[in-house]
Amino acid sequence: MSGLVLAQFLGLSAALLGIGLFGILTRRNFILLLIAIEVAINAAVLNFVYFAGFASGPGGVSGQAAAVVVVGLAATEVAVGLAIVLALNRQRGSINVAEASTLRQ
């Protein structure tokens, strides 16, 4: 086991977060937005996992525990998001978030 480089992981999670943000900013389909948010959250999960793996003390395991919890939370959020998607679709017949912009100014 010759080991891995910490910095590369942060680089990967930075890239994933950036891609997620990019998706949130540019996509208009609610489902794509959900996916983009998942990508961003996965960057955080990845952070927890590798920081746990590289931690020196015994407390590192709580990083993995945090990752587990965040995964669960993200899944819950997707479920809520889908509920809103369905209600929105039933209401407007569209899940394009840019079209739902009556509240403004």
Partner: protein, 527 residues
């Protein structure tokens, strides 16, 4: 942990139990608002009683009698929660906001669809806020925020046939989920820097990679995630649309309740006994001693800039609003800026000022939104101009609304004045310390902004009292009945808010002393 007994969790237990009862009632088909509402109001009242008894029921300066062992009990390096006197004060504040909304919602149509879900979610959201108040761990804090978050996304959209409500829920959800992702990313970086997410560990700067830049970036992400809840500029844009589109009682809860949760989260992360802004000792492992990077000035400067930005932008935009709810929403944004002044300064008096501002804002903003909900139930439209003659037609409602707005504007003899007075004077006082002259400008900015804010509140007063009523709107109830069209619950909630605003505005000392003592404990312990 030893000092914490299970009785400390009684308030949370009441709320959770009531939520389960409400959901079960819904499942068996009992959905009348009277039934679920009564259960919810009862649970909130019980929880409030429990919190008050935790504080040690002694209305005159009660917090000073709180045993020291209770304050900070459980704040070990692995514990997830800790009780502080200020946290208990905030629990009380959260419960008060829930009480106002739960009371007012009793007056909604008796067979309204979704009443039980609304009340259940309200209880769950309150439960999340209660848990935020006792967090001693970053992940615990963020999930507790999420408990409230998920419940409130659904509360905004619970009128599922209402296009505006759903659009608001969609916006709230997307920006909320984005903020969640960013906060957890920040938390993960902090975990990377310190090897733990416990506040005590974070505050001591021990463990892990100990890379200060990593931690600083983590804190930046965390600020963004929390700023979403507190509606700081430029993370505020969602709030206006959501407050506007959500059912007005829910807006009252969001502006009056959940926003305060964000404020307390800022307290915990940035000011509290276990926060980065407490003076940190040089940490030694073996013979190597490291002085941790001092975040304090940079973070304070950043939060101060955010405070000024929030106050100013919120006020300027509130000036031009034509709709009542949007005006209140922007004023709510600017009020968050005042609270941030206290957070940026971080001394005990400033903290007391911010807490008082939070306390006052629960009554004034939730009260104002509840009045708006009541007025629109009477058939008045959303525009400010449509409130003309309200003061003459419905004198009691008009006076109540006027008092709430005057309090928001910070006019003396109201609680809003007291809180701003304490906050700004704390800022001036803090600025006398050499090298902290920046704080003086925070006070000046707050002052100028409250001067500006008077205009848009006064405009509403002018419309209400100085313009003839619109004959098309039947504001008159049956003669001699001031509550006509409002219902018992909403009337009670509005009276509660107004009495609190005026009563405590005239005689604030008990609450002030209590909050000051709690804030002093909060800042001093762990130093």
């Amino acid at each position: 942990m030893d000092a914490v007994s299970w009785t400390w969790f009684l308030p949370e237990a009441f709320l959770l139990g009531a939520a389960l009862v409400v959901f079960l009632l819904d499942a068996v088909g009992v959905r009348k608002i009277e039934a679920v509402g009564a259960v919810s109001v009862g649970a909130v009242l019980l929880a409030l009683l429990a919190v008050i008894s935790d504080l040690g029921f002694d209305p005159l300066g009660f917090l000073s009698t709180l045993p020291a062992s209770v304050i900070d009990s459980g704040g070990g390096s692995t514990s997830l929660y800790a009780f502080s006197s200020l946290g208990l004060v905030f629990q009380g504040i959260f419960l008060l906001s829930a009480l106002l909304v739960a009371l007012a919602s009793l007056s909604r149509p008796s067979d309204e669809a979704g009443a039980s879900v609304f009340y259940g979610l309200l209880l769950m959201a309150t439960l999340g806020m209660m848990l935020v108040a006792i967090a001693a761990d970053l992940i615990f804090l963020l999930i507790a925020i999420e408990v409230t978050g998920i419940a409130t996304y659904l509360m905004v959209g619970y009128t599922r046939k209402d296009a505006r409500g759903l659009e608001a829920a969609m916006k709230f959800y997307i920006i909320g989920a984005l903020s969640t992702a960013l906060s957890f990313f920040g938390a993960s970086l902090l975990f990377g820097a310190y090897g733990s997410t416990n506040f005590l560990v974070l505050s001591q700067g021990l463990g892990g990679v100990t890379e200060s830049t990593l931690a600083l970036v983590g804190y930046a992400f965390l600020i963004v995630g929390l700023a979403f809840k507190v509606t700081l500029v430029p993370f505020h844009a969602w709030a206006v649309d959501v407050y506007d589109g959500a059912p007005t009682d829910v807006s009252a809860f969001l502006a009056g309740g959940t926003k305060k949760m964000g404020v307390f989260a800022f307290f915990l992360v940035f000011i509290g006994p276990l926060s980065i802004l407490t003076a940190r000792a040089v940490s030694c492992s073996g013979s190597v001693c490291v002085a941790p990077y001092d975040f304090r000035p940079s973070v304070q400067l950043t939060l101060g800039v955010l405070a000024i930005l929030t106050m100013t932008v919120g006020n300027l935009l509130a000036l031009l609003q034509k709709e009542m709810k949007r005006m209140l929403a922007y004023s709510s944004v600017s009020q968050a800026g005042y609270m941030m002044i206290g957070i940026a300064i971080g001394t005990a008096p400033a903290l007391a000022g911010a807490t008082l501002q939070v306390f006052a804002h629960v009554f004034m903003k939730a009260g104002a939104f509840l009045v708006v909900a009541g007025v629109s139930a009477l058939g008045v439209g959303p525009l400010i101009a449509q409130y003309r003659g309200l003061g003459q037609k419905r004198p009691y409602l008009g006076v109540a609304f006027a008092l709430l707005l005057l309090s928001l504007a910070g006019i003396p003899l109201t609680l809003g004045f007291v809180s701003k007075f304490v906050l700004f004077s704390a800022a001036v006082q803090a600025s006398t310390v050499p090298g902290q002259s920046f704080f003086f400008w925070l006070a000046v900015a707050g002052l100028l902004n409250s001067a500006v804010s008077v205009f848009y509140y006064a405009r509403v007063l002018k419309v209400m009292y100085m313009e003839p009523p619109d004959p098309a709107v039947p504001l008159d109830g049956p003669a001699g009945d001031p509550t006509a069209g409002l219902g018992f619950g909403r009337t009670a909630a509005i009276i509660l808010a107004v009495v609190a605003i005026v009563g405590l505005g005239i005689y604030p000392q008990p609450v002030l002393s209590a909050i000051q003592s709690a804030a002093t404990h909060f800042v001093a312990t762990g130093a």
